[in-house]
Amino acid sequence: MEKGRQNKAFEKKETFPICLRTSHLDDSASLKTYLDIGGYQQIQRILREKISPEKLIEEIKISGLRGRGGAGFPTGIKWSFIQNDSPGTKYIVCNSDEGEPGTFKDREIIKNNPHQIIEGMTIAAYIMGAQVGYNYIHGEIWEEYESFENALAEAKKANFLGKSICGFNFDFELFAFHGYGAYICGEETALIESIEGKKGQPRFKPPFPATYGIYGRPTNVNNTETYASIPWIIQNGGESFANIGVENSGGTKIFSVSGHVENPGNYEIPLGMPFNELLKLAGGVWKGRTLKAVIPGGPSTPVLPASEIMKTTLDYDGLKNAGSSVGAGSLIVMDDTTCMVSTLKRLSYFFYEESCGQCTPCREGTGWVYRVIKRIVEGKGKPEDMELLQDVSQKISGRTICALGDAAAVPVLSFIKYFKSEFEYFIKNGKSMVAKTHD
């Protein structure tokens, strides 16, 4: 790597594209483009030099890479759960079912750099001794699903997938799976149910997918960005990746910036960048307005008011200390014209609509929450409603099979925590404290 560029990145003021390193190139998604930037060399080197899975896992552990889908679980540790030499079919699954509002990074990786996902998954398959893989792609992005199918066909034709990959004694088949509109399928066991052709209702855990996944076989599920980071880590070493970020937060992370900024889009940045630097990269708050609040990692992560987020760095510890989380890096920016009560109403409707209905606290609770906020927005709020909202949310949290219930409680509790006066005003006066201004 060029030293100058690395030093600049350490200042944490610029993007550092790894997963998105082909985005600016012509014909970015093609096999030729990926080969031109040194693509598929890592899987070939691994096969040629017969590098042991243990050594590769060690490198990934050193890199500090953590699951980029939201949970942030250390990837190297996860990949040691499935024994490479255990008998029978094992599966590698890529979770590209990004439906968390504000998340659109996996779409760009699929669109511009699909072969890096394929190489990352193939390396994962080598490490865990898996023979078959699926990339589960979000229902609404049909064009990306088709382009991923094209990338798979190109890779198969060039023998980077299939039998005896590149002439070595290693087989791996990879397929694209198209979802059809269910947020819950981003939860890994719901996704597995969906691949089995069922409605996407999460499974009770344990057993975890590493022992009981697709068709009851060991299965590793990771996010798209996680797999796409792997070839770079193997090429440059775990330490180089770790050094881009900060302690506990190795490497780069894509932040999908949406809402009230001048230039919404994906920004792959070194972890540890101060929030205000990313805000600058995205052109600042739009229309010269003032920042009011930011949801840093998607609605499943607590909202932070401007005063908090402006002094926060974007990494796992920085956001945790500020009382929120990196989540999927779905950073939603809200300016001072935003009515937090109406915004919460839309988010609560989302969780109500997307609850799979399996667990009573979530199925019923999300409906309760939505109806109470709706009546506040309709000017029929009662003084006791805020307490009711918090009470119902707290009773969903921790009482469900999957994290959707917890996620549904997060915006309610955090919006009320930081913007209590807005809720009180709405209930008392039957109208928003913030008159929405349309330019």
């Binding site: 998340t103 659109f104 979802g179 052709g197 949406s258």
Partner: protein
């Protein structure tokens, strides 16, 4: 009866799964059938279930669980517009109002000439291009303005 082309397309999907796991292709099969027919009927869902050797009720569960399936007649062009937070912050409501006024229908309705139907959608995972919509679950239009919507409707209508 499922057409020959439908069956060919489903067979292609079946190649992705083990021989004894045909049910895995049900979402794809229903999507293929819906794309040809515009919406799913109980009969069509049952035919898909038969073809994949799975219980009809399991296929029905899938058809009713996933939001992008249509169980009632939709317009020739089904417009799904996202109103979730990132789109809402960039005035998706204005686009919704414009569409409703222009097409003279509400959500979940079909225009009299059966050309258009309108559906409210959850996050489509493309929020950088907000506000946005899809047509027939396949073509996505981003950075919408009322003028751009007019242009899209005109192109579809012509």
């Amino acid at each position: 009866m499922l057409t020959k082309i439908t069956i060919q397309k489903i067979d292609k999907e079946l190649k992705k799964f083990p021989d004894d796991q045909k049910q895995s292709a049900i979402i794809a099969a229903l999507q293929i059938i819906q794309t040809e027919n515009g919406f799913l009927t109980n009969d069509l869902i049952a035919m898909a279930a038969d073809y994949l050797d799975m219980p009809k009720i399991a296929a029905m569960e899938v058809a009713t669980f996933y939001n992008m399936f249509e169980l009632k007649p939709a317009g020739k062009y089904k417009i799904s517009i996202c109103t979730n937070i990132s789109c809402a912050l960039r005035d998706a409501d204005d686009i919704v109002c414009h569409l409703k006024k222009k097409l003279k229908i509400d959500f979940n309705e079909v225009t009299k000439d059966k050309k258009f139907s309108l559906k409210e959608s959850e996050c489509m995972g493309a929020c950088g291009g907000a506000p946005l919509m899809t047509v027939n679950n396949q073509k996505m239009y981003e950075y919408l303005t009322p003028q751009k919507v007019d242009q899209i409707l005109e192109e579809l209508d012509s």
